[in-house]
Amino acid sequence: MKSEKSQREKTFSPGALTRLEEIKKKYPDKRAALMPALYIAQDEFGWLRPEALKAVAQYLELPEMTVRSTATFYSIYKHEQAGRNMVRLCTNVSCMVLGASTLKGTLKTLYGLAPGGTSPDGRFQLEIGECIGACDRGPAMLVNDDLHTELDTKKLIQVLESYK
């Protein structure tokens, strides 16, 4: 008669809990651990699905709404089910004048990637980003945590092909 639901209810893995404990120690107030905890939660849950937010809320003893309200303020978090690889193409001024706009077209035609969307094969998710601090070597993009610079169509394809 044990609760099936509570078994299915996903919480943090032991590894994540250890990381969270470490992070909490960095601040005198546990709420400050919220942003790092959200990063961990999205690793654990894939994206910031409601259960992920609830798990964070419970762990940090914060109201669920507080967690959601804070999380949605920040655009780097994955607020939706995302493709496997997150592509953040910078189109801000410096990159734009060096040709970022054409790259956007390439992503659309070759990978079916529209801004905010996911490629049909689920391999990529595209976010049109703001400046990522690589303007001297623009156009630039981040794929997950990797920076790629001086992109042109050829290099773009080359880079993306290295992600599965």
Binding site: M1, S3, S6, L53, E61, P63, E64, M65, T72
Partner: protein, 872 residues
């Protein structure tokens, strides 16, 4: 003194104030949107800008502090242009739905647009669209109308402390939502709706039913749900309440209400209301003429009196009835029927708790201002959750927390889990033992103040348990106790809020003495939880077997004689039967009962006994607004009026007397003729030959004011604005000083199994209040059925899942309830409320009488919990 000039007007300020406050205090209006006096400063809307000399930029007057020598202009062309532009910006995304929006007429944005001139919509791109959300039964959200002032969120987070809604997303994409995005999961205080300046979040209760300017009248009165006594504004149209709202800054509640107060008014208009008197004929209650019913009631009661003596008659007064009604009630019983068998729900703990405190500190020991709670250095709640039983008082505890004060909860107080700074989570029913532990720790580190030598001598002789003992009883560790004590070491004032369970306890006197000692050491003001709106009034009106109006003993000859003289009858000097005793002796010494506005067949423990007792009576009269379980057993039923239909006064838990105003005329075309409760009583009394010359409820107060020293000189004229605070126009009677030794605890250390065994706890849900609220549709929408609330941990011990149907049985009864998991509830505890028909949890409880006060102590035996099969 800060001297500033606004629009050329010289203004002197005593203390720090914002420019806006300074202006408003001197009659200069500056338009605002995001600012609200009850909320933290925000400065976002930019509507309130003003020009200040020597400052190049326009300044937001709501945030800038007035400084000496400042010269301010509030309506220069530059200011007006800026305000116009703010309006233009706001209207970019604001749909022009004024013709259909419920807020039209009381919308700040609309008013300001009228004032500063409509802007010629230069924005031509599409407006932001958001589907209106009607996912919630009570609250409709239309985020297209939202102007992002965040007043609702600041209200919910910082004042209500519910953290139920928030702004999601950033910038233009931001809007306000509950966590689910749809249905709210909140305390339903409605305070967010009240501060929304536009029509973005509104109540669904009166949606599209009226326009604000079509109201017949608005009436300011006092809420009928609990002992806080909040001021509320009723908007009435066509003889029905359309809307209830608080009045900003006014009353005990200063502009806040709870879910019951704002959404619970629907019972008044319920079609199930009783409309005529009923008389039992051939076993069936049938409609009857008033005259017939009144005459029958009088005749039967006097018959029984003549046959068996006045002591064969008993009466239960009503905690939702007014002082006037309760006064007349006990007069009828005492002077008309010759009986002192009068009691009420105050017997369930409040009266005893109050008596014990007054024994030590004198009369009025628990008459303190709720508004003082956040001003004290520490707040301690004991065996209660004020956020559920007396919600608006609970908000003051949260306010204290927010102001950085210490908040200690002793026992379970779920609603304060986010606000308390310290907790002594004693097992339910062992809070008194935790107090003993706390006291012994306090005595180690804190000096006695030296004001009351007699009490101090007593305290020094208290035999207090060792901390290990406390831990075995309560589960509260020595570390927690010393932590709490050291947190309280330096407080110079505090507030203590205590629940009635402390007095409905085998160790009642001991518990209260410990509480008093702690309060004495910490310079506390006491507050006693009061579940009914006029529970205090019951006590003060003499609706008790041993006291007369003014709450003094009937045994006191000089006091009794005052009343005998005035009422023209001899009174029985012997105290009568207490609440439970009346039922215990029904059919035996008690042959008839008169019950006004109470439902003992449902609202008392030992339900089987009470019901059979009612069955054994020769004659039963019930006055009620609904056909309650008790009314259904009566021989005569009189229909009552609801709080909004009558005049009178309530005494709240501060002992503040406040006046109810009549909002609805129940019988405008005499189609339904209803009498006020006091009129019914008066009609019976007159028939019985009593002198009851009342033509209005004010006559009753006048009589009271002549007789009761406590209420001397009081009249309706004194109650106009904020009511009148204890000790009214009289002087408090300093009794105090009767300090016996601390009784030894009658509790036994629980065995291991006992400590782990599940316990049944009577829940007092925020959304309901007795059985009244089950006739208030919206409250049912939020909480539709009886629940057994327990923590997931308890769930796994009991092997039940969230949402499962379980059957709970005890020696007293059995009922099926739906399990609701709530994190943070004490492990092992099952909370069940007494609010729904078949599933009223009191049906599971027996009781035992506290010998001194005859307060029933809830007991349950043979608890069994089974999963209801096939109902998952």
């Amino acid at each position: 003194m800060i001297n500033i000039s606004i629009n050329g007007k010289k203004i002197g300020l005593e203390g720090p104030a914002t420019v806006l406050e300074a202006a408003r205090r001197h009659g200069i209006d500056i338009p605002t949107l995001c600012n609200h006096p009850a909320l933290e400063l925000w400065g976002g809307c930019r509507m309130c800008v003003v020009e200040i000399e020597k400052m190049p930029r326009l300044q937001t007057s709501c945030t800038v502090m007035a400084a000496d020598g400042m010269t301010v202009y509030t309506e220069t062309p530059r200011v007006v242009a800026a305000r116009k532009s703010v309006l233009e910006f706001l209207l970019i995304n604001h749909p022009l739905q004024c013709p259909t929006c419920d807020k039209a007429g009381v919308c700040k944005l609309q008013d300001l647009t009228v004032k500063y001139g409509a802007v010629a919509g230069r924005f031509e791109e599409g407006k932001r669209t958001f589907p209106e959300s009607v996912d919630d039964p009570l609250i409709v959200r239309n985020m297209e109308r939202c102007i992002m002032c965040t007043r609702c969120v600041r209200m919910c987070d910082n004042v209500q402390g519910a953290f139920a809604i928030g702004v999601v997303n950033k910038g233009t994409r931001s809007h306000v939502e509950p966590f689910s995005g749809g249905r709210y999961n909140c305390e339903y205080c409605g305070n967010c709706l009240n501060v929304c300046p536009v029509g973005a979040i509104m109540s669904r209760l009166h949606r599209y039913t009226y326009r604000p300017w079509q109201m017949d009248k608005t009436v300011k009165t006092i809420c009928s749900f609990c002992g806080v006594g909040c001021t509320q504004l009723l908007e009435v149209r066509s003889g029905a309440i359309q809307k209830v709202s608080p009045v900003f800054g006014e009353g005990v509640n200063k502009g806040l209400l709870c879910g019951r107060g704002i959404f619970g008014y629907g019972y008044v208009g319920s079609p199930e209301r009783l409309k005529t008197p009923l008389i039992r004929k051939n076993g069936v209650l049938e409609p009857a003429e008033w005259d017939e019913a009144l005459a029958l009631a009088e005749r039967k009661m006097l018959e029984i009196k003549n046959l068996h003596g006045g002591r064969a008659i008993a009466g239960v007064a009503g905690g939702r009835c007014t002082n006037e009604e309760n006064y007349v009630f006990q007069k009828l019983l005492r002077a008309g029927f010759g009986s002192n068998n009068i009691d009420s729900v105050a017997r369930l703990g409040l009266m005893h708790a109050q008596n014990l405190l007054e024994d030590i500190f004198g009369q009025g020991a628990a008459a303190n201002l709720i508004s003082g709670i956040p001003r004290s250095d520490a707040v301690i709640t004991v065996a209660c959750d004020p956020t559920q039983t007396n919600p608006v008082m609970g908000l003051q505890v949260r306010a204290a927390a927010r102001a950085g004060k210490k908040v200690l909860t002793v026992g379970h107080a779920h609603g304060l889990r986010r606000h308390r700074t310290h907790s002594l989570p004693a097992h339910i029913g062992t809070e008194g033992m935790a107090l003993a532990g706390l006291l012994s720790e306090l005595l180690k580190i804190k000096k006695l103040p030296g004001e009351n030598p007699e009490f101090e001598a007593a305290i020094k002789n208290f035999e207090l348990p060792r901390l290990e003992e406390v831990e075995t009883y309560t589960g509260v560790s020595a570390a927690m106790l010393s932590g709490a004590a050291s947190a309280l070491k330096d407080v110079s004032s505090s507030s203590i809020i205590a629940g009635r369970e402390l007095a409905a306890h085998r160790d009642a006197r001991r518990n209260l003495m410990l509480l008093a000692a702690i309060g004495y050491i910490l310079n506390s003001r006491f507050f006693l939880i009061s579940e009914h709106p006029n529970e205090q009034g019951l006590i003060d009106m003499g609706c008790a077997p041993d006291t007369l109006p003014g709450a003094r003993p009937i045994a006191l000859q000089t006091f009794r004689e005052r009343y005998e003289e005035a009422w023209g009858v001899k009174l029985d000097p012997e105290p009568g039967l207490s609440l439970m005793e009346m039922f215990e002796q029904a059919g035996d010494t008690v042959r008839a009962m008169y019950i006004m506005g109470e439902n003992p067949a449902f609202n008392l423990p030992g339900r089987k006994m009470v019901k059979s007792a009612l069955g054994k009576l020769d004659f039963l009269v019930v006055q009620d607004i609904f056909m309650s379980e008790t009314a259904a057993m009566a021989d005569v039923v009189f229909p009552s009026l609801a709080w909004s239909e009558k005049e009178g006064t309530y005494t709240n838990l501060e002992k503040r007397i406040q006046k109810l105003e009549k909002a609805i005329e129940k019988n405008p075309e005499k189609k339904v003729f209803l009498m006020e409760d006091w009129q019914i009583l008066m009609e019976i009394g007159k028939r019985a030959g009593l002198n009851m010359p009342y033509t209005a409820s004010s006559d009753i107060i006048d009589e009271l004011a002549r007789l009761s020293p406590l209420h001397a000189g009081l009249g309706y004229g004194d109650l106009a604005e904020t009511g009148m605070m204890w000790p009214y126009k009289g002087k408090p009677l300093r009794m105090g000083g009767r300090i016996p030794a601390l009784p030894v605890s009658r509790a036994e250390a629980p065995s291991k199994e006992q400590a782990l065994a599940p316990v049944l706890v009577l829940d007092k849900p925020l959304f309901h209040s007795g059985t009244l609220s089950r006739h208030a549709g919206p409250l049912l929408d939020i909480m539709a059925e009886a629940e057994a609330k327990l923590s997931p941990e308890t769930g796994s011990v009991l092997e039940v899942t969230d949402g499962a149907m379980i059957s709970i049985s005890t020696a007293e009864g059995e009922m099926a309830l739906k399990v609701k998991f709530e994190k943070g509830l004490p492990v092992g505890a099952i909370f069940a409320g007494n609010n729904f028909g078949e599933a009223g949890a009191l049906g599971l409880f027996g009781y035992e009488l506290e010998p001194e006060s005859k307060t029933p102590i809830l007991r349950f035996a043979n608890l069994e919990i089974k999963l209801e099969t096939g109902k998952l």
